[in-house]
């Protein structure tokens, strides 16, 4: 079943074509990695899929529904969740509250005005479990402004998981996270329901090749290659523009 379908997406900033007729699709259970040189347009693509930016042309289909003109909150409500390359956390709110807030949003209790937030044990429980899974229990009551950068990146992932996505877009979730902890993220992603579709942007080829079932290579806003990890590994062009000689695996 196709979860997400992107058709002929185009976007320019001024004269600069940042997304140049990109199409791809993601089916249930698929793990798609998007790679490409810096400035290739990966983040911009995710922004259009997530609804932060609006495409100039093309369509985005979520579960066969055309969501191109939907605002991002509506896409989130339909299971399309993303993380940010540059952390977007509430700097002075305890992490556990932020996760709880995401869960409240998901189960619709966020507008509750009369019940105390402490009277939702299942939500606090779930939030605590998500944090524990990413070994963030020790910082649960800290605020991002007093946390190490790597931990902030993990919180970003925790928030995405709390929303129980159907399609998860991860924009360099592991940048700044040491390998040992990056493994935690991968483990957490492994445990997600099998029918979940994941799109990950990552520059660490180890992780990409370990995780992805398919790889899409972008360059100058256009799709350069699309195939299994093995195909990509063997692709000379990709090697030349992106992987470099060290990157050969």
């Amino acid at each position: 079943m196709t979860l997400l379908k992107v058709e002929h997406l185009k976007k320019s900033f001024g004269g600069l074509k940042v997304t140049d007729d990109v199409s791809f699709s993601l089916s249930a259970g698929e793990r798609l990695a998007i790679i490409g040189p810096n400035g290739a347009g990966k983040t911009t693509l995710v922004n259009q899929v997530g609804g932060v930016l609006h495409a100039d042309q093309g369509r985005v289909l979520l579960n066969d529904t055309d969501v191109t003109s939907w605002p991002s909150y509506k896409r989130v409500a339909h299971g399309l969740v993303r993380t940010f390359q540059i952390s977007k956390l509430a700097p002075d709110m305890p992490v556990i509250d932020q996760v709880a807030l995401a869960i409240h949003q998901r189960d619709g209790s966020i507008g509750q005005m009369w019940r105390s937030k402490n009277s939702y044990p299942h939500i606090i429980d779930e939030a605590a479990n998500i944090l524990a899974e990413l070994q963030l229990t020790r910082v649960a009551h800290n605020t991002p402004s007093e946390m190490a950068y790597g931990d902030q990146r993990l919180v970003e992932v925790a928030l995405a998981l709390a929303l129980r996505p159907k399609v998860l877009l991860l924009d360099e979730p592991m940048a700044g996270v040491p390998k040992s902890e990056a493994q935690l993220v991968l483990d957490a992603l492994e445990r997600l329901p099998a029918d979940l579709g994941v799109v990950i942007i990552e520059h660490d080829m180890d992780l990409v090749f370990r995780f992805a079932s398919r790889i899409l290579v972008l360059a100058n806003g256009a799709v350069l290659a699309d195939g299994t990890p093995d195909e990509i590994r063997r692709n000379d062009v990709v090697r030349a523009v992106y992987l470099g000689k060290e990157g050969q695996i």
Partner: protein, 332 residues
């Protein structure tokens, strides 16, 4: 439902106050009444303004939107309560309801427009809304009395029992109890998921949007809620003073309320009460002792407060409160 072992230690700490706090507050209200009969009027004023400042705290403290137009809703409530007493019926509690309703209505209508903006734009727009309301009240002289103020209305006894008297006893109890109830209600609301959501919006809107939270309806809700309580404050003001002037819609009131709020600390309802008490007391005593130079005193205080450590005032007031209680305990 019970918490799993992982999260047991993680549940947000319950406040140690609870019911005991409210009982203590009632005791304080009673003690003040007993020992400071000469200050009832100023205490009444503090109670009324504290409700306004709490309502401002919702928007500015919790929602992160600094406003200088809170008086719009206050004045709306005041005029509504006054006109209701004058032309419909003199019952105070119904009047308060009407004041709350009209404050909410204005806040809802204005909020639909205002909360689209943030920062300086929001601040200036709130000023403009309040100024336009004031202009309107001035132009609608045949209803509002214009510059001369709305007077000539009477308020019937509360529950048919307690007549508003020249000594201000009824006014004192009425305002104090309405303030306490407002505090309890607001405190409860701001500790709900909705309250948390507002704080989230204040802290990082992008984050909330990424969660799939729509910012706009929540802010409209918050602004309307704030209008309810600003309206109640205004309604009380009209009923207790039995006169409403254009100043109840004025910029100065909004600005003073903001100063009181920042003085006491944002985002904590108790801060709103502390700030109001402190500012009003200092204004009152400095202006009585040496009206010509009270600006020095208040100016100096405002400058000083900024450099005090965070939560200093809360600590100070708490300690002061305990001392005062102890003092009364010994004397009583």
């Amino acid at each position: 439902m019970t918490l799993s072992p992982v999260s047991a230690g993680m549940a947000m700490r319950q406040s140690p106050w609870g019911w005991l706090g409210y009982v203590a507050a009632l005791a304080v209200i009673f003690l003040l009444y007993w020992y400071l009969p000469g200050q009832l009027l100023i205490l009444t004023r503090i109670a009324m303004i504290a409700i306004l400042v709490m309502s401002l705290d919702l928007v500015t403290g919790y929602g992160g939107l600094p406003t200088l137009g809170q008086a719009a809703m206050f004045g709306m409530g005041a005029y509504a309560a006054g006109l209701f007493a004058k032309f419909v019926m003199p019952d105070p509690l119904l009047g308060l309801l009407v004041a709350a309703g009209s404050g909410a209505l204005l806040a809802f209508i204005a909020g639909l427009f205002l909360v689209r903006y943030q920062g300086l734009a929001f601040l200036m727009l709130t000023i403009a809304v309040a100024l336009i309301m004031q202009n309107l009240a001035s132009k609608l002289q045949f209803i509002t009395g214009g510059d001369d103020g709305l007077s000539g209305f009477e308020v019937s006894p509360i529950f048919g029992q307690f007549q508003f008297d020249i000594f201000g006893v009824t006014g004192y109890w009425y305002s104090m109890i309405v303030m306490l109830v407002s505090f309890a209600v607001l405190r409860r609301i701001m500790r709900s998921p909705f309250g948390l959501c507002c704080v989230g919006i204040r802290e990082n809107r992008d984050r909330m949007a990424a969660n799939g939270t729509r910012i706009y309806p929540h802010l409209v809700k918050l602004y309307t809620l704030s209008g309810v309580f600003a309206g109640i404050a205004g309604g009380l003001f009209a009923q207790v003073n039995q006169v409403v002037g254009l100043d109840s819609l004025g910029f100065e009131l909004s600005a003073e309320a903001l100063v009181m709020l920042v003085l006491g600390g944002l985002g904590t309802l108790s801060g709103a009460i502390i700030g109001t008490t402190l500012y009003t007391m200092i204004h009152h005593f400095a202006a009585t002792a040496n009206p010509f130079h009270w600006l020095f005193v208040i100016g100096g205080l405002l400058m000083l407060v900024v450099f005090l450590p965070k939560g200093f005032l809360q600590q100070l007031m708490r300690r002061l409160g305990l001392n005062v209680l102890a003092l009364f305990g010994r004397r009583a």
